[in-house]
């Protein structure tokens, strides 16, 4: 049906609302922030567009580059964990019986029904020294201590809780927890449509299950993994309240720095410049993805 092109009214009716939305809520604010990034502070709330590059130069100072690098490491680590854990989960769902599949998918999506902030606070309750992980650990410790006490030994004077919160590990755990479904869903979609006979052929030809995974399944579902990586990594890179709530003094991410410029530091131009630096980094990652996908797509999968 190409007819809609011939009816301008239909065309406009369909394209106006989304265009309006994009312009008013995306391009205009983005342009404002972009302009802001070339501005100078004149007072508490006044700024002046002077086309200065100082904000960007400041953003490229080692201290901020270091935080950006650290953000990439934390977000990248979290993405990797999501990928490694996501594959088996997506596999299990794709191979589950038709009766269980919708329920398993629901379990993956269910956390979305609760606000992410509340879920992050809940993680604090799980990880803190008087939290559920430590409660379980304490019970184990007490029991073990009693056991070794029978033969006259001791595990220590008293129970020392694990410090699970306010460090980089907690931040990574928080990011993994928040964005895990974004990894599982595209992976699941790709594994689900993968022709089972590819796997059977690999087994039939003498390959074991691991070999089959790395030589056949992974290369053929790589597109899904790539989508998952992008949609986990990008929001993870810009995360600010997860490191804020779960991280310690040394686990600041670039999102925290940007947030601070707009709030406590009240330096909007610098915050805007940092935002755009982050966006350029993201664009770079996306371009890389398109390049990789394009090269693999040429000749990899036929319709």
């Amino acid at each position: 049906m190409e007819n809609w092109r011939k009816h301008p009214l239909v065309f406009w009716a369909f394209s106006l609302p989304p265009s309006f939305w994009l312009i008013v809520f995306f391009f205009v604010p983005l342009t404002l922030v972009w302009g802001l990034s070339f501005s100078e502070k004149r007072g508490i709330i006044e700024t002046e567009l002077t086309f200065t590059l100082d904000n960007y130069l400041r953003g490229l100072e080692p201290i901020y580059l270091e935080i950006l690098w650290k953000s990439i490491l934390l977000a990248g680590g979290a993405t990797l964990i999501c990928l490694v854990v996501g594959y088996p989960v997506a596999f299990a769902i794709a191979f589950a019986s038709e009766r269980w599949k919708p329920w398993l998918l629901l379990l993956v999506i269910l956390p979305f029904w609760i606000n992410i902030l509340i879920r992050t606070y809940a993680l604090i309750a799980v990880f803190r020294s008087r939290g559920y992980v430590n409660f379980a650990y304490e019970d184990l410790w007490t029991a073990a201590n009693w056991l070794v006490g029978l033969v006259g030994l001791s595990l220590g004077e008293r129970f020392v809780p694990l410090s699970l919160l306010y460090n980089n590990v907690a931040v990574v755990a928080g990011i993994v927890y928040a964005f895990f479904p974004f990894m599982v869903l595209p992976l699941y979609a790709n594994i689900e449509k993968l022709d089972r006979s590819f796997m059977e052929a690999s087994l039939d030809l003498g390959a074991g299950h691991w070999r089959t995974f790395f030589s056949v399944v992974f290369p053929l579902t790589w597109q899904g993994a790539l989508s998952g990586i992008v949609i986990v990594f990008i929001p993870a890179l810009g995360a600010f309240f997860i490191p804020d709530l779960l991280g310690g003094t040394d686990s600041q991410m670039i999102g925290n720095v940007i947030e601070r410029q707009f709030k406590s530091a009240n330096d909007w131009p610098f915050g805007a410049a940092l935002s755009f630096l982050l966006m350029y980094a993201t664009f770079f990652a996306l371009a890389l993805r398109a390049l990789v996908a394009g090269r693999r797509g040429a000749g990899a999968l036929d319709a």
Binding site: S202, L205, G206, G208, L220
Partner: protein, 367 residues
Amino acid sequence: MSDSRSDAIIQIQGVTKRFGEVTAVERVDLDIRAGEFFALLGPSGCGKTTLLRMLAGFEQPSDGRILIGGQDMTGVQPNHRPVNMVFQSYAVFPHMTVFDNVAYGLKVVGTARGEIRPRVEEALAMVQLEDYGSRKPDQLSGGQRQRVALARALVKRPKVLLLDEPLSALDAKLREAMQLELVRLQHSVGITFVIVTHDQDEALSMADRIAVMQDGHVRQVADPQTLYEYPSGRFVADFIGKMNLFEGRVAASDATALAVEVEGLGRIELPPDGQAPGAGQPVGIAVRPEKVELFRKAPPEGSVARRGTVAQVAYYGDVSYVFLDLEDGPSLNATVQNADRAAEPYFTKGETLWAAWNPNDFLVLGE
């Protein structure tokens, strides 16, 4: 099924496969001889593919056991079985070149590097794809992809090659060519082929022996000619080829003669048949359309002859199917060879003819 056990490469012994409530294969006993081209033939849902998948190891029998080369395959994973499979979808890995596809089965079992290249090239030559090694599967036609799947399986030098509906995705001309090709290939490599098909022409033209399956049971195992001329029952008679089937009752049955009273055809005298049911029992008698001869004049003595009117003629070039309405009711299908170009006139609609056939060509089919 009393084949000598010594030359059986595959022994299927009392194999049953259940999926929940559904029994896909039920108590099948089957021996497949080394070096033969064996076909599992049946309509969809008859259990033939399930049986093949049990040979490959993708399914485990619920009951009974399968021996390949004398070894019990119970619990043996697909990657440890001396069989290879050509999949219906071919399952040629889209992310590998033709060469890598064929080499895959050798690489994964750690074949020496120096040995892989000559063996892959030999396998590609076998399917006439020598120059296609560097191509990707999406640059190949369906027929070529199938050859890759064949080469990929044959390069493993399996004891048995399993083929799951290998020709169903090809167009008619290519399918015919591939049928001959597969038989030629099987002769040259000497490997046992087990093919699953729902296409009787395919099975008849290619296989040395055929097992006809229905509802999870094997109905008959025989060479193609026996299967066609002496089907063991109604299902096989009806499934293989075309058939004129008449229902009747046994009028007399003893060591010297068999007579059947058929509605619309009257009393028909047949050669004695020890297997035939006793007098008064219902029985079906059947005759193949190509055994029916059509005459404009009175037919020769000694044949079963009835008059009828041509209801329809289906012209296929080499043969014509003539559908007759016999005078006393039943309709009859006769296949006529269009052997003589100048034969005039051809049978036409509305014409009244004699249909005649030899009583020896009747098949007697019990319930």
